[in-house]
Amino acid sequence: MSLLKYTIRRFLALIPILFGVLLITFVMTRALPGSPVLSAAGELRGESQAQYIAKLEERYGFNQPVLVQFVKYLRNLFSGDWGESLSVHRGATVAYLIGKAFPRTFEITILSMTLATVVGVNVGIISAVNRNKLKDTVIRFIALSGVAIPIFWLGLLLQYIFAFNFGWLPAGRYFSASLEDLEIITGLRLLDSLLLGKLDYFWDTILHLIMPVFCLAFVFIAGITRQTRSSMLEVLELDYVRTARAKGCKERDVIRKHAFRNALIPTITVVGLSFAGLLGGAVLTETTFTLHGMGWLVVAAINGVDYDIINASVFIMTIIFVTANLVIDLMYGIVDPRIRY
């Protein structure tokens, strides 16, 4: 019961955070140099430009005081109207654009984080158990390179090898141009194609996703491996692990049953925060692989000073981060009975 109370309390705490974040982004975007109206009126000159700008400002209410605009924006936001794109995709609603971009990001995030967690945790344990032996050294070398290699460089390299040189995999985008017409159910292409029973679409998407997912996973595998290794090494020297050994526990059980859960907490933090960060969009990867997900959308919106998209994205990211932190905290409680809410 206290768990439920705790969760509700945390969500209530989300309200002032959201309000603050929105206010700051709202004011800051408007204080930025450049304006969406200006870029919209790009071709026009002189008198006609001024008239056009005035017309647009009137229409979008940009001529009103910032705070008035903000309050109106809030009202619309909570009634479900997230505004309208001004420069990225003029005329499209923000809800539509985000509704299209977010599932792509979500799909890539789920795939790469699952891969990264499964591989990272296991490799981290292997590394810790074989401390300072050859296995460990090799793993640590690869993990370090995962942290050090810039992701766009890795992406380009992979594209060069597998798409350009061998032609095994498509070089970018989310699907082949000929297979665009998939009916949208959840927006997650893999899931939708499966639900519709269209295996060719499914396979096509898989081929497109292999490289970006691997790329993203590689970086996070590195972080997760290093974290798991170090916390595992710490736990393996603790008294209760020695107790388990003194009982006659096999080393495999010592690790699985006694050490692993205790070493998990730092890893949960790393995985959870990485997950949340990725959901906000992987800008570099999405750019390298021309995937039009959240990262791409936000960058495009910032470049075009597209107020409503920026605000809505920040709004979503805030919710994701706060929720991720809550989930992380709840997971601690599951893993470690000493943590209660």
């Binding site: 603790l238 008294d239 107790t243 388990a244 009982k247 006659g248 205790n262 893993v335 009975p337 000493r338």
Partner: protein
């Protein structure tokens, strides 16, 4: 023993004396023999000679105390017995024979069968020695699952049979219910409900192990054992946790119980209870105990014999009575006078402390490792390490003071400066 003697008397004329001698010998053969054990840690700073030539034996049905200052190598000695020394540590040389088994030669897989089973260890500091994320019941029952599978399987079989019998009964009663008179129906319904409560949906070997764990906790006097098995260590008091630790040592009928300062972290009353418990258990189970402690008082109360350890060596070793009556090694004497005694005369006496520091184990003092702190240190003490020698009262002491011929320059007393010369 008695039987053997009787036999040899009866058959005195026959030539069985050889056989009987063998049997007698066999009977008094110690349970554990440790010979010249060296356990070193190869650290980056240098080789830590934590245990450097330790020999002792533990007899059947005996409590041997191991006492010494912090860092003198007591725990390392104990861990060596179970081959639990981890890298960078290593048993460099020495022999350990446990019940005729050569421990040093055993592989890790073979040790798994011994650890927690016929020799078991409970650790100092119950706070950190239990796994914080596992229920204590599961930690205790793990010992059963590791070493008493046969027993558990039998019990499981019995429990399953009982369960199915109950089910049959239930069926029969339900049938009867349909046909019986309305008066009888009431009592029958009650019976059915009672049986329903006893029937388990599914019984696994884990359930049996947990049941055994609860029974064990109950036997060692933990109240509400049924509920305690479902608790986590942080929900229990220090004394309760220590009992849990002890119960893990008792889950199997270990021949040797190694207790590494099981009472240090507890308050005095709980300490006394735990000691009582160990004594009681030992009397019942007739196993042997290696009891490690800082406290001479505990040794005096509990142990049959005692080994006094100083900086990786045993310096005095014999029965508790003899050593307490007449401590002969200067270090033991120091230890004795540093415990407070509450008698009228002793109040007048001052409590002494042993001056100096615990020696560095990477570069230990040469010769007798105690010489920088010893009031009687002589020239020879710096050069030659004294061996254990038996004294007239059967106590073994490693000290040059008891050499036969003590004339000559070698036996000149060291000055303070000479003592401290090569101490790092």
């Amino acid at each position: 023993m008695k039987n053997v003697k009787d036999m040899s008397k009866t058959f005195n004329n026959l030539d069985i004396s050889g056989a009987s001698q063998k049997m007698t010998k066999n009977d008094v053969k110690p349970l554990l023999i440790v010979k010249d054990l060296h356990t070193y840690f190869f650290t980056q700073e240098g080789i830590v000679k934590a245990v450097d030539g330790v020999s002792f034996t533990i007899n059947h049905d005996e409590i041997l105390g191991l006492v010494g200052e912090t860092g003198c190598g007591k725990s390392v000695t104990a861990l060596s017995l179970l081959k639990l020394i981890r890298s960078p540590g290593e048993i460099v040389s020495g022999e350990i024979f446990f019940d005729g088994i050569d421990i040093v030669e055993k592989t890790n897989e073979e040790m798994l069968k011994l650890r927690g089973n016929i020799m078991t260890m409970m650790f100092q500091d119950p706070m950190n020695s239990l796994n914080p994320v596992l229920k204590v019941g599961d930690q205790v029952s793990e010992v059963y699952l590791l070493h008493q599978m046969e027993f558990l399987k039998d019990e499981l079989q019995k429990a399953k049979e009982k369960n199915s019998k109950l089910k049959e009964n239930l069926k029969r009663m339900k049938k009867e219910l349909k046909t019986c008179s309305p008066e009888g129906a009431e009592t029958l319904k009650n019976q059915i409900n009672a049986i329903k409560q006893q029937i388990k949906f599914r019984i696994t070997i884990n359930d049996i192990a947990r049941r055994e764990a609860a029974a064990l906790l109950d036997r060692i006097g933990l109240p509400n054992a049924e509920t305690i098995v479902n608790r986590y260590p942080h929900e229990l008091s220090g004394g309760m946790r220590q009992r849990i630790m002890i119960s893990m040592g008792l889950a199997c009928n270990a021949k040797l119980l190694i207790c590494d300062e099981p009472t240090t972290a507890l308050d005095v009353t709980i300490q006394a209870q735990i000691l009582d418990m160990i004594r009681e258990l030992k009397r019942k189970l007739k196993n042997s105990v290696l009891f490690i402690t800082h406290s001479l008082g505990v040794i005096y109360e509990l142990c049959d014999r005692v080994a006094v350890m100083y900086s990786g060596n045993i310096v005095e070793y014999g029965t508790v009575q003899n050593i307490f009556k007449n401590p002969q090694h200067p270090y033991t004497q120091g230890l004795m006078t540093s415990i407070p005694r509450v008698t009228r005369e002793s109040r007048a006496q001052e409590l002494t402390i042993i001056p100096g520091m615990v020696p560095n184990l990477i570069f230990p003092p040469s010769g007798c490792r105690f010489h920088p702190r010893c009031d009687h240190a002589m020239v020879i003490c710096k050069k030659i390490r004294p061996e254990l020698h038996e004294m007239p009262n059967k106590v073994q002491v490693a000290c040059h003071l008891f050499n036969k011929d003590k004339s000559g320059e070698e036996y000149r007393k060291l000055t303070e400066e000479e003592k401290q010369e090569d101490v790092l």
